[in-house]
């Protein structure tokens, strides 16, 4: 029996992809919304593709919002999961978990002709955390998003789309990445391995 990895189940997509990515690196995980299982896990992954307000409503209904904030083991938020760990999202003016202070803001093309959402592979630079261990600064990761977390005190990786923003955040035991490590080929697998070895 190895360590217990839990993927938080809620009303967001892409959860299955994270489970498969872990399998590819030889790790088994449990997908659950049961408080006890999440609390007892060694590592918690909080994934998601979806919309912020309905996701927060779902988490609150099940008391998962309080539980997630109080976790002491390493927690990795992915995409919407990372955004929900911030203070507030402009997406339907949603109060989020408030683990990170960085606000979540909608991309504004503002005459740049840039497409929204950002879909595709972008570089992550200024990386400064053990979750990027062994991954060269400037490596490419796969992003799909219309909202972004601004740069701030907890930024541990920066991407540039219309303007520089937080590609990754870290505070205490909490980590968040805007990109999808589960879909980011070798770099993504390395990041997941790094997180699991914290």
């Amino acid at each position: 029996m190895g360590e217990r990895i839990v993927i938080v189940k809620y009303n967001a997509g892409n959860i299955q992809s994270v489970l498969y990515a872990l399998e590819r690196i030889g790790k088994q995980a449990v997908v659950t919304d049961e408080h006890e299982q999440i609390r007892l896990a060694d590592k918690v992954i909080f994934p998601g593709v979806g919309e912020a307000s309905s996701a927060m409503a779902y988490l609150k209904e099940r008391g998962l919002d309080q539980l997630l904030k109080e976790l002491k083991q390493p927690v990795l938020g992915i995409c919407l999961g990372m955004q929900l760990m911030c203070l507030h999202s402009e997406e339907n003016d949603t109060e989020c978990l408030g683990i990170f202070d960085e606000p979540v803001i909608r991309f504004v093309a503002g005459g740049t002709g840039m497409k929204i959402p950002q879909i595709g592979w972008n570089r992550v630079v200024e990386t400064s955390s053990q979750i990027f261990h062994g991954i060269p600064d400037g490596s490419y990761f796969y992003f799909v998003h219309s909202y972004y977390a601004a740069r701030g005190a907890h930024t541990i990786g920066v991407a540039d789309y219309i303007q520089p923003y937080s590609a990754a955040l870290h505070k205490n035991n909490f980590y968040g990445v805007q990109f999808h490590p589960e879909k980011s080929a070798g770099a993504g697998e390395q990041l997941l391995r790094n997180f699991l070895s914290i």
């Binding site: 299955q16 498969y20 590819r24 592979w121 490419y140 992003f143």
Partner: protein, 252 residues
């Protein structure tokens, strides 16, 4: 800076790749999973799997295949072919597809796009459009794999699709498809300029210069090709190194 995406497309029939391939290093190049994994290793940015016989009886075969792909491949992939309902899409996404593409069914019942984007988000809804330039100079939408002409202009349908929630457009020029004379810079450029969502150019890839052209002159966000990759006329590492040397941002 976001990179331009290179997307191999695999046509699937009864769970097998349809067009012949020239991959001697694969045990079974007819297996979409093995071929897709090889493309991912070579540096493909995404994959598209088009099920060309997606009848109702085959639906289960397709979802099983999608599940195998999702288990083995570490880059995003889109599944298309015969998708006509929210339920179809739910099953494919639950089996691990990242995006789905709709074509004829969406044209016949445009509300499908609203339903899919409302239920699953625009990021997973790709609107595929087959278009052909007629003698009057206009580009029209074609349906059923290019067999049925409509009187709707490509740009009008693309705009409506985006308004209804399509997150990307996969645009195939029938005038160029299969010619190996290059992508259509004209219609790809029009859509890329007019639409607020990414445009994937398809049809006509024959040389590496054709990719430079569609990225630089038409400002396509991604380019899709099938046979030139399957028959290894162009390898993905070679193509990306070339684009990089041309100053086109690509993931290398």
């Amino acid at each position: 800076m976001i990179t331009k995406r290179i997307i191999p497309c695999l046509d699937i029939k009864d769970g097998r790749t349809v067009k012949g391939t020239n991959f001697i290093n694969l045990r079974d190049a007819g297996d979409p999973v093995e071929l897709g994994a090889e493309y991912a290793r070579q540096g493909a940015d995404e994959l598209v799997f088009l099920d060309i016989t997606a009848t109702n009886e085959k639906r289960k075969t397709l979802s099983e295949l999608v599940s195998r792909i999702a288990h083995h491949i570490n880059i995003p992939f889109t599944v298309g072919g015969g998708i006509s309902s929210v339920e179809d899409v739910r099953v494919l996404l639950q089996h691990g597809a990242d995006k789905i593409s709709v074509n004829t069914s969406a044209f016949k019942r445009p509300d499908l796009i609203n339903e899919l984007s409302g239920e699953f988000g625009s990021q997973c809804v790709v609107l595929a459009i087959d278009t052909k330039q007629e003698e009057d100079g206009e580009w029209y939408v074609y349906l059923n794999g290019g067999r049925v002409k409509t009187d709707t202009r490509c740009i009008d349908w693309a705009r409506e699709g985006v308004r209804r929630g399509a997150g990307e457009i996969l645009l195939t020029s029938m005038n160029h498809d299969g010619t190996k004379n290059g992508f259509s810079v004209e219609i790809t450029g029009t859509l890329a300029r007019e639409l607020p969502v990414p445009v994937i150019a398809s049809g006509g890839a024959g040389t590496m210069e054709h990719f430079t052209e569609v990225f630089r002159e038409a400002n396509a966000d991604a380019a899709l090709a099938a046979s030139i990759f399957h028959f290894r006329e162009i390898s993905i590492p070679e193509l990306k190194a070339y684009l990089n040397s041309e100053g086109i941002p690509v993931r290398v």
